[in-house]
């Protein structure tokens, strides 16, 4: 029974020229967005790979230098694009690309694409995720707004019911039929995405990428399902197709445009974050309480030196087997890094509190549930960005401490000497290991639950409401 109605809806939809035109357009847009996303992904990825390769080579080919010179020469970390970010660029355009890694200080991640764009970018980017999250629901609305209203106005609803079908079954039949129609638009695009993924060797063999793509597709299935159910329910509850359409469009605008902006803005107003200048000043101030690597007059350096003399049972610095300078540097770096980590964590905590409002809004607004879910799976969300920043900082710390250890082992008078060029070739360069799906899932439980809650709630409450809908 449900199948007969589903088939009828599908056939009617496919024979409706308006829908065919609209869905062909949508499909074209999806395919174009996939290809454009892929092309821009490759350009950016190549740009960053080349840059990373360049700085790695530069690092390995340094001449004889003092290790602390090398620590100031430093290196760069370029954020590689996540494998699926060509489907959902998420925050990628608004997060920085390159961070300079050097001794003593933590630099900002610079050169975001948004900084290289005019305010046009604030209209939103045409990615696959954008089409799936905002435009496909619009297609669903146009498809479903007169699901019941039209049948009621035309009188076919009565005919259907006299054949002994319940309203609920008609609703499920319609939902199935419309679902198939939507699938016809979306599946080719996802298939293309899968094929593109397959054509990239580094991802083709990565079960992680496939699992992410699978969950990505699944999330959208749930998202579209709840839109279809919602639209069918609204269509059944409204007396006229016109009011159903206006109501659904209103929901779309509220959920897709107004609420996300309003909650994000409100979050930023409620939990103000400190500026980079203030952060730097605070880190600097707190770091003063520790040892200062570049200040030989520092009292704490003197104490450290005295301890060393005692430990090695010698009476002057010249006789020490280690470089006091190197040890002081190491100590100071450890202290500053700890201080920075604390402040960095506080800042991120502020951001998380700002974003929490948006996540909670997912309970009110399915768009705000699918958006974090989608970018989390694509690897372009805030958690992934922080993960990169953390990895860059970890690498920076390891690198600097390794260089400090090298300096320490040079013994007294290290400032007058240099280490051989071969030393730098032995030091590993920055290689970013993107987090695995299991790690990301921890951050996505909230949005995923919100989405499921919507789907279950709508199918349960909504279809109960359909039972009570008026027929004449």
């Amino acid at each position: 029974m449900i199948r007969s109605i589903a088939k009828k809806e599908l056939v009617s939809t496919l024979r409706d020229r308006r829908f065919v035109v609209l869905s062909v357009l949508m499909l074209a847009l999806l395919l174009a967005a996939t290809l454009v996303g892929r092309a821009s992904y490759r350009t950016l990825q190549r740009e960053r790979q080349v840059a990373q390769q360049t700085v790695n080579d530069q690092f390995h080919h340094q001449p004889n230098r003092h290790p602390h010179r090398v620590a100031h020469y430093g290196s760069f970390a370029f954020r590689p694009k996540a494998g699926l970010s060509f489907l959902d660029a998420g925050l990628d355009s608004f997060t920085g690309t390159a961070v300079f890694l050097e001794a003593h200080q933590q630099n900002s991640v610079n050169f975001s694409q948004a900084q290289q764009a005019s305010s046009l970018i604030r209209f939103g980017e045409l990615t696959v995720a954008f089409v799936l999250q905002l435009l496909v629901p619009l297609l669903i609305i146009f498809l479903c707004f007169n699901a019941f209203a039209e049948e009621r106005e035309a009188g076919t609803l009565k005919l259907l019911l006299t054949q002994g079908v319940s309203l609920r079954r008609i609703a499920w039949g319609k939902i199935t039929g419309y679902g198939q129609a939507v699938a016809l638009v979306v599946v080719p695009a996802l298939a293309l995405a899968a094929w593109l993924l397959l054509s990239n060797e580094s991802f083709a063999n990565s079960p992680d990428a496939w699992a992410r793509l699978g969950l990505f597709g699944l999330s959208y299935v749930v998202y579209f399902f709840l839109w279809i159910v919602g639209a069918v329910v609204v269509s059944a509850r409204q007396q006229h197709a016109r009011t159903a359409l206006v109501l659904l469009l209103g929901c779309w605008m509220l959920g897709g445009i107004i609420l996300p902006k309003a909650t994000a803005n409100l979050g930023a107003n409620l939990f103000p974050a400190i500026t980079k200048a203030e952060l730097d000043a605070k880190v600097h101030e707190d770091a003063q309480k520790g040892i200062n690597g570049h200040d030989p007059q520092d009292a704490r350096s003197a104490a450290l030196k005295a301890n060393l003399l005692k430990k090695y049972k010698v009476d002057s610095e010249e006789k020490l087997p280690v470089s006091v300078g190197g040890l002081v540097m190491a100590e100071s770096e450890a202290y500053t890094a700890k201080v920075y980590q604390q402040h960095f964590a506080t800042l991120n905590h502020t951001y998380e509190r700002q974003n929490a409002l948006t996540v909670w809004a997912g309970l009110l607004n399915p768009y705000q549930a699918i958006r974090p879910l989608s970018m989390g799976l694509a690897g372009s969300d805030f958690a992934h960005y922080v993960h990169f920043q953390q990895a860059a900082e970890d690498y920076r710390y390891q690198l600097v401490q390794r260089l400090n250890a090298l300096q320490t082992s040079m013994g007294y008078g290290d400032k007058e000497r240099k280490l051989d060029a071969a030393t730098w070739r032995a030091i590993p360069t920055f290689a970013y290991e993107a987090p695995v799906l299991g790690w990301a899932l921890g951050y996505l439980v909230g949005p995923a639950l919100a989405l499921l809650l919507w789907a279950v709630g709508l199918s349960w409450l909504g279809l109960r409401a359909i039972d009570k809908t008026s027929i004449v």
């Binding site: 009617s12 006299t162 079908v165 027929i471």
Partner: protein
Amino acid sequence: MTYILEAKELRKQYPNKLALRGLNLQIEPGEVFCLLGQNGAGKSTTINLFLGFVQPTAGAAYINGVEVASNPLKIKQYLAYIPENVMLYAHLTGVENLALFSSLAGFRYSEKELLEYLANAGLPAEAVRRRVGTYSKGMRQKVGIAIAVAKHAKVLLLDEPTSGLDPKASNEFSELLRRLSQQGTAVLMATHDLFRAKEVGTRVGIMREGELVDVRPTATLNANELEQLYLTYMQ
């Protein structure tokens, strides 16, 4: 004896109107009962109550002895319904519409059988594979008849079935009702057409302001007498 259609003290109160004030009605198999009356007299409400599309405020409607309001799905297997203006799915062809509705009623007909039903209902052969969007009102009516006949229902509920049909189509429709009633189908038909009521009806009931004010067997009346009777009640 059990009646195939029965209304007991059926009342329907709308928010701003009392549409039906305690209707009592019994119809036997093979009867063609015509409800006459002005717009708003309660004819459509009666039909809708038998269909289970509206819930009675008091009293009950029974089809084949089954109470309608509490068994909305069960009673649907006994009845077929043809509205005033049969609207079908415009994007499907005539035969596709029939196939859809029959399958919903639980019948799986072969292509040949479907075409036969449509032909018997009088749909021209050239039209069956065209989309219903291109049909005239009469052609849609014929598909509606085919849907009703293909259901082999014991009861046929009709709401102004002949309004807007040309005389020829109207006559064919009367023929069909006669054939069905001879096979034992009970028909309840709301109509404005006194002539048609006299011609095909076995009994006529006149409704006024939600009440059945008179019921007469048509055999005892001629067309003029029926019109006189009707006009008397409408004053």
